[in-house]
Every structure is written in C-alpha cells, then in structure tokens.
C-alpha cells in the first residue's frame, strides 16, 4: 500500500498535470518549496515559507480581513449566495449520525454522496450537480488539539462544494480553483498575494486524487480535492466522471472576519461569553493573545507529550512550559467544553446516544471529558445549560435542534447521573492503587470498564489519551465470512425468495464438499439477522444458506449432486412463514418502541429465529414494566390495524431524501438501490428480509422479556403469531396445574403461592425453635444427672 507521502512524491514528478490550474497561469502564480516545512505551494508573492499554521502565525488575529465582522450565520449566507449565484444547487444538511456501514458519523460533506457497497467499492450518487452544502461534521481523532491550537473541533461545519465532471456537465479543477479564488478575493476581500495553494493528495476509501489546500494568513480555509482515480494508488483506473470535493471550514471563514484570539470565540459567539461569565473566568489576556497567534504550531498529532508540543511556543513567548501550561489550560478546557457540548447537541438531535458501544462510545467520551474539566476547575457551570445555550444560538439555522431539546436533555440527565455515580467508586479505586500511578493502558482499561476518566482520579492523562480510547470506535469493522469455496467467476445468483416461491428447479453451478451453488434459488440466506431457510435440494437436506457478495451458497448434508445437473428444490414453508412473521414483528416492535421511548430509538441489531426474535434498540436505560407493556400494546394495535406492508425498490438518494437516514439499521450496507419495507406511520427500513404482506398476518406479538444488554442498548425478546400463542397456552397449562395443586382458582395462584411460602417459612422456624429447645432440655437433664 502506497502512503500519502509516497503518492505526493509520485505526483510531484509531474506537478503541471496534478496541481497546475488555469488561474495560476493567468495570474502568474509561482510554484515554490517552503523553506520551513518542505511542502510545495503556489503563490503570487515572494514569500519563502508557506502560509500553513506551522510555518506562519495567525496574522488576522486582531486584524480581521473584512471591514465588518460576520457571525457564523452571515458567513454562511454570503458563501452560499456566492456559490448559488455561480450555478450551484444548495442542499439541506445530512444527519451527523451516519448509521450506514462502516461509518458511525458524518466526518465530511463528501461522505453524504457515496456508500461502500458489499464488494467494498465506492458507489457515488449526487442529488444535484454542482452543489453547495453546509454539513455539520463530527470527528473524534483530533480531541487532544481541541482548545489548544485555536482551530480544531470535534464538531465543525464543513462547506461542501461538489461537482461531478463528465466532460460536459459540472466542472473540473480550473473552474473550482477560480471559484474558490473569487470567493476569497471578491467576497472576503483577501489580497491575492496573501493566498497560498499548497500541494497535497487525498486517499479515501477506494478513490484518490491530488488536492490544493488554500491557506490565508496562517490558516487553511479549504481543501479542494480532485478525485479522479478509482481503487488504490497501487491498483487503480482513471474515473470517467471526476469529482470536485472542496471542503472549507465554516468556523474558520467566520474567524478571519472577526479576528478573535481563537476560532472558538468566533464560532460559539454568545455561548462562550455566557460560559466565561458563569465561570467568573479570569486569565492573562495579553499572554493568551500572543500564544493564540502562534498556537497553530501546537500539534498533538505530532507530539503526544504536551510539554514537548508546547516547548517551542513557550520559548518563542519567553516563558517556561510550566507557566504557559498553567496559563492556557483553563482556556483549553473551557473551549473544549464549548466544542464537546455542541458536538453532543448535533449528535443527540440526530439520534446518537452516548454508550459503551460503537459510535456512542465517542459521545460518552466527550461528555465525560467535558464534565471532568468542569470538575477539575470547579466551575459553576451546568453542562445542560451550555447545551441549551447552543440550541438557542443555533436554532435559527437549525430549528430541528430546538425540536429535539427535551429529549436531548433527558438523555443528558441520565448520562450525567451515571457519571456522578462513578464518583462513588473512585475512592475505592484510588485506595486500590495504593499510591501507584496507573499506566496509560491501565487508564484506558479503567475508562472502558468503569467509565472513569483520568481527571476524575486526579491524574493527568497523556494528551493522546482520548484519541486512543476513541480511535477503536470510529468505524465499524466487519469480518469476512470464512467459507472454503472459491466463488470467483460465478454469476450473481438469481433470487426467487421475494416472490414467495417454495418449490423450484435450478441448475447446479458449483459443488465443493458440502457446498452447492445454484443458478437461482428461493432459499433465503442468513442475513439482516434473519435465519436461513431450510428444505431439500434433490432430497438432500439444506442445513445452511450463506450469501457471499452476490452469490448464494447452500450447505447440504452429504449428497450426490453434480455440477450441471438440474435439481428439484423445496423450501420448508412452515419455517419460512414463522421467520417471516418474526421478522415483520421486529419491524413493528421497532416502530412501537420509537413511539413510546423517543426518536433516539434505533435498531442496533436483531435476530429472527424459528423459536423467537430479538431486537437490540438504542436506549439509555432499562425499560420499566409500564414501558414494556405500552410497547407491546402499540405493537398489537399495529397488528390489529391490518396495515399493508409495502416492499419496494427505490434509488438510494431518493429513499434517504424521503425517509431520512433512519431507514438504515445498525451496520446496514447501502447499495445503489434499496429495498424498502414500509409500515406506513410506524416503521420504514431498508431491509432485504422476508416479510408478511399485512400486519394482521403476523398475529399477536408477545414481549417475553426486556434487558439492558450493554450501555445504551436494550434487548427486547418477542414471539409472534402461533409461536406466541403456543407460548401463552403453555403458560396457561402450567398455571392450571399449579392452581390444581394449590386447590385454588387460577387468579388466586400468586396469593396462594405466597401463603404457601409463608407457611413453609413459619413451620421451618417453629421446627428450628423446637429443636433448639429440645437440645437445651437434653443438656439440662445431662447436667442434673
């Protein structure tokens, strides 16, 4: 695998091909190599070093680039207007919580336009061309730098300029850079000679290309990626349709117009002012201002030790690292609290839930980090207040945040309570440490198992602590199914199971041991949590059915089936019907749970077997008996309504636009076309499973039990239809038997059992007492003798 550095080296052999654009020729941009960092950049000035923040201070601090400062809303307004005036279609933001495999969060604007299909290939789809979008994005790999370098966020607005260029429609590099240059010079009035275009490359999942970062006065404002190759740098082909993917920093554009010491001051506006007021925040403004100007040099990606990262800056400021740390730490903490709470606002509003699993892990980390800072500095700050201030400030642009306010607060209340509960365990842990400082690995283990942050133990964590605990939860990793069968060269299996076929003939395409591949099949393979069909192929029992990419493989009991043979196949209809009912029942329960518990409820996982079905939903606490009953009641109301269950194929983009991202259950792999299963008014999911045609066909649904299986995950086990009925009949039989034994009516059984138990305890006590007395009397008699 070629690294980014190696790819830059390859491209730099031909910079004219990869980076030079018409504008550079027209205006006389010169290509130079930075004397400080060694990067190549294009400029109109005679500068020797580039405008990257590691090479230049933030020059616009106290000297904003525009005459009038713009707040975040005005900044977006002028940028959007510029692109719309230049033929771009404005798009509505996508959720920050992705739900589709392998991402948990929207990490950039461009990820909205591609999915990774089951073969691992990128599948692009653009709702408009060219387009402009402001996408709130979440990234948790830069946590240590938040608050420190004045520009890093876990939640940031990405200005996404996109164009698909096929030679006729859209535009390519020349137009992209011309537009971005005009935005900077004409809208933001930045002098052309103050703009640098730094050469870089982008290697994404299955695609790559060159890119030009544009830097102004020490800050990178945007990065225009020219995606033109499919595959990896070692095995690729040129794309027929090339993609302009320019991502710019919304907060950074705002910052350069305000010239505030940090990007946070510009982005969080009144929220930060209120926070400072509540904390009675006092600091050395002059020192901080001097630090802020050169803080872009502080990069904890390069140095995991904060002391080393700060040493150069401290020297430049003429103070010791200790003095600098003492001075900036409270500000770093305050900015981090502001950033983390805003990230939580977007994530929770979009259905994210702090937990110990998957992406929820990152949300819990930032919440606990923020709470730890408040504790550490003993600030009189309520984190829910900060969250509500953010909502208040952002609602005019994101009204959906206000709509979700109550539920966001409810989730936070539970989480804060949990954080406080860990405090009780802290003294026990400190005691067990008996003066020893735990290693980083031990601290990570402690966070994972107990949810206790180093700050809660009074220990200074390494600056990459939070990056290390979150990196394992950034993307989902799926394991390839291991089957001893080579499917290369086999055609896609024709699927018959959606047509309710149970008896069919097929041609055997491949036999390997117990595995058989047919040209077509009605055997449903285990997928989406639904167990496979069983039945017979030429009288041989089918014991397992597996889908590998687009080929369906049948595992059969030893049998004499030959390649090229036409075989008679029969699916076990009874089992199929039960699985269908259980699968549909799970959709119904999912919809009912959302109605009762709230919008944050999402299917994390599910299993549908012949015996029962289960769904793991995202929810922050155990269900009460009342909630359980209500969910069951709603589910059975849906059944009784005899609602049609619509199953249809839709283009991915259209489906996402119409139904939102809730259609994706945990780990779903979206393809270009989605099979949608809709129970109108209750549940819509992208689902490849088998379902009834009408909710009434499911029969009554019985919740067997609910259980909190992990932090943020509640398991609901159910039975449906005849299976549920048999289950209840069995219970009725047992109750009847117990009533008979107790010689009472069935409704009196609990009372009678209680009485029986009391009676047994009473008699046992009496017998014990009597035995003791007999023992004492015997002793007395002995002594008398």
């Amino acid at each position: 695998m070629i690294t980014k550095k190696e790819l830059i080296g390859i491209f730099q052999k031909n910079p004219e091909r990869y980076w030079k654009v018409k504008l550079f020729d027209d205006l006389g941009f010169k290509r130079k190599q930075c004397k400080n960092c060694g990067k190549f950049f294009w400029t109109l000035s005679d500068q020797e070093t580039c405008n990257d923040s590691t090479c230049k201070p933030y020059k616009f601090i106290n000297k904003p680039v525009t005459k009038k400062p713009l707040n975040i809303f005005k900044t977006w307004k002028v940028i959007q207007k510029f692109f719309v005036d230049n033929g771009h279609i404005p798009l509505k933001r996508y959720p920050t919580v992705c739900r589709w495999y392998p991402l948990y969060f929207t990490i950039a604007g461009i990820v909205n336009f591609y999915r990774i299909d089951e073969n691992g290939d990128l599948d692009w789809e653009f709702p408009a061309n060219p387009s402009i979008l402001l996408q709130p994005s979440l990234r948790f790999n830069d946590i240590p730098n938040v608050g420190l370098n004045s520009k890093s966020f876990t939640c940031f607005g990405m200005i996404q300029q996109t164009s698909l260029f096929d030679g006729k429609n859209g535009y390519w590099k020349d137009k992209c850079i011309e537009l971005d240059f005009n935005l900077l010079t004409k809208v933001f009035k930045i002098k052309p000679e103050e703009i640098n275009f730094i050469e870089d490359v982008w290697i994404g999942h299955g695609a790559f290309g060159s890119s030009l970062e544009y830097h102004v006065q020490g800050i990178e404002l945007g990065n225009a990626v020219f995606t033109e190759f499919m595959g990896t740098p070692s095995n690729y082909r040129e794309m027929k349709e090339k993609i302009i993917d320019m991502g710019a920093g919304w907060e950074r554009f705002t910052w350069i117009t305000q010239g505030t010491p940090t990007c946070y001051d510009a982005a969080f506006g009144p929220v930060l002012k209120k926070m400072k007021k509540f904390c009675d925040f006092k600091y050395d403004k002059k020192l901080f201002l001097n630090y802020a100007k050169i803080s872009g040099k502080v990069n904890l990606d390069e140095y995991s030790d904060l002391n080393i990262a700060l040493s150069k800056v401290a020297t430049q400021l003429g103070i010791s690292v200790g003095e600098l740390k003492k001075s900036i730490e409270p500000l770093q903490a305050l900015y981090s609290v502001a950033d983390h709470t805003r990230a939580l606002v977007f994530a929770l509003a979009d259905g994210g839930l702090p937990s110990n699993v998957a992406g929820g892990y990152n949300l819990r980390v930032i919440l606990r980090r923020a709470l730890s800072f408040i504790d550490k500095f003993k600030w009189n700050l309520n984190i829910q207040d900060v969250v509500n201030w953010h909502i208040q400030y952002l609602k005019k642009m994101f009204p959906e945040l206000e709509e979700k306010k109550d539920e966001i607060n409810k989730i936070l209340e539970v989480e804060i309570k949990r954080y406080k509960n860990t405090k009780e365990r802290i003294s026990r842990i400190i005691e067990s440490l008996s003066g020893k400082t735990p290693t980083q690995e031990e601290l990570i283990k402690l966070y994972d198992s107990e949810g206790i942050t180093p700050e809660q133990l009074g220990i200074e964590a390494s600056s990459d602590f939070y990056a290390r605990v979150t990196e394992r939860h950034m993307v989902e990793k799926k394991e390839e199914e291991k089957i001893a069968l080579d499917i290369s060269g086999l055609p896609k299996t024709k699927i018959l199971y959606y047509d309710d076929v149970c008896n069919f003939r097929a041609k055997v395409l491949k036999v390997a041991g117990n595995f058989v591949v047919l040209d077509q099949t009605a055997f449903y393979p285990t997928s989406g949590g639904q167990e496979h069909d069983t039945g017979y192929i030429n009288g041989c029992k089918v014991v397992d059915v597996i889908k590998l990419h687009s080929v369906i493989i049948h595992k059969i009991e030893p049998c004499n089936v030959k390649e090229g043979q036409i075989v008679e196949c029969k699916v076990d209809k009874k089992r199929r019907e039960i699985l269908k009912k259980h699968h549909t029942a799970i959709h119904i329960v999912n919809g009912a749970a959302r109605k009762i518990l709230g919008f944050h409820v999402h299917q994390h996982g599910a299993e549908k077997t012949e015996e029962k079905a289960r769904i793991d939903i995202t929810h922050f606490e155990s269900l009460t008996e009342e909630q359980e009953e209500k969910i069951e009641e709603i589910a059975n109301q849906i059944v009784e309504k005899a609602l049609p269950i619509k199953k249809f194929v839709m283009k991915r983009g259209e489906a996402e636009k119409k139904y939102g991202f809730e259609i994706y259950a945990g780990g779903y792999i979206p393809s270009r076309e989605l099979r949608i299963v809709e129970i109108k008014g209750y549940d819509v999911e992208a689902c490849g499973g088998l379902h009834c045609n009408n909710t009434k066909e499911v029969g009554f649904i019985k919740i067997l039990r609910t259980k909190r299986v992990a932090d943020g995950l509640v398991r609901i086990e159910i039975k449906a239809g005849d299976i549920a009925l048999s289950y209840l009949k069995e219970k009725e039989k047992i109750l009847k038997e117990v009533a008979k034994k107790l010689k009472v009516k069935e409704e009196k059984v609990p009372e009678a059992v209680k009485k029986l138990f009391e009676d047994w305890k009473k008699k046992r006590k009496l017998l014990k007492k009597l035995r003791k007395r007999i023992g004492q009397n015997a002793n007395i008699e002995k002594r008398v003798e």
Binding site: N636, E640, F700, K702, D722, L725, S726, L728, K729, K731, E732, I734, L735, E737, V738, K741, L742, E746, E747, V749, P750, V753, K754, L756, F757, D759, W760, K763, R764, L766, L767, L770
Partner: protein, 51 residues
C-alpha cells in the same frame, strides 16, 4: 390458529399471574408446579414432626 383479542388478553393475564407466582419463589415458571409440590411435601413433613 386464530384467536380473538379477548382470548389473547385472557391468556396474557394468566401468563402474568404465573410470572408473579414464580417470582415469589424465585423460580422459573416451568418449574413452579414441581417447586410448589416440594413445598407442600415439606410442610406436611414438618407438620408431622411438630406433632
């Protein structure tokens, strides 16, 4: 197997009664008849001894 809502609710009520009864003795519902029988037997034996 079709069943009316009334019958379904009746069955559910019975399941609840059984669940409640089993919870008193902290046993699984399927074990309740056997456990009740054991308690009855032990009570009888204790009564004999107490006489």
């Amino acid at each position: 197997m079709r069943i009316s809502k009334k019958e379904w609710n009746k069955l559910k009520k019975k399941e609840k009664l059984l669940k409640k009864a089993a919870a008193i003795l902290r046993v699984e519902e399927k074990d309740l008849p056997r456990v009740v029988e054991r308690f009855q037997k032990e009570i009888k034996e204790m009564e004999e001894k107490l006489k």
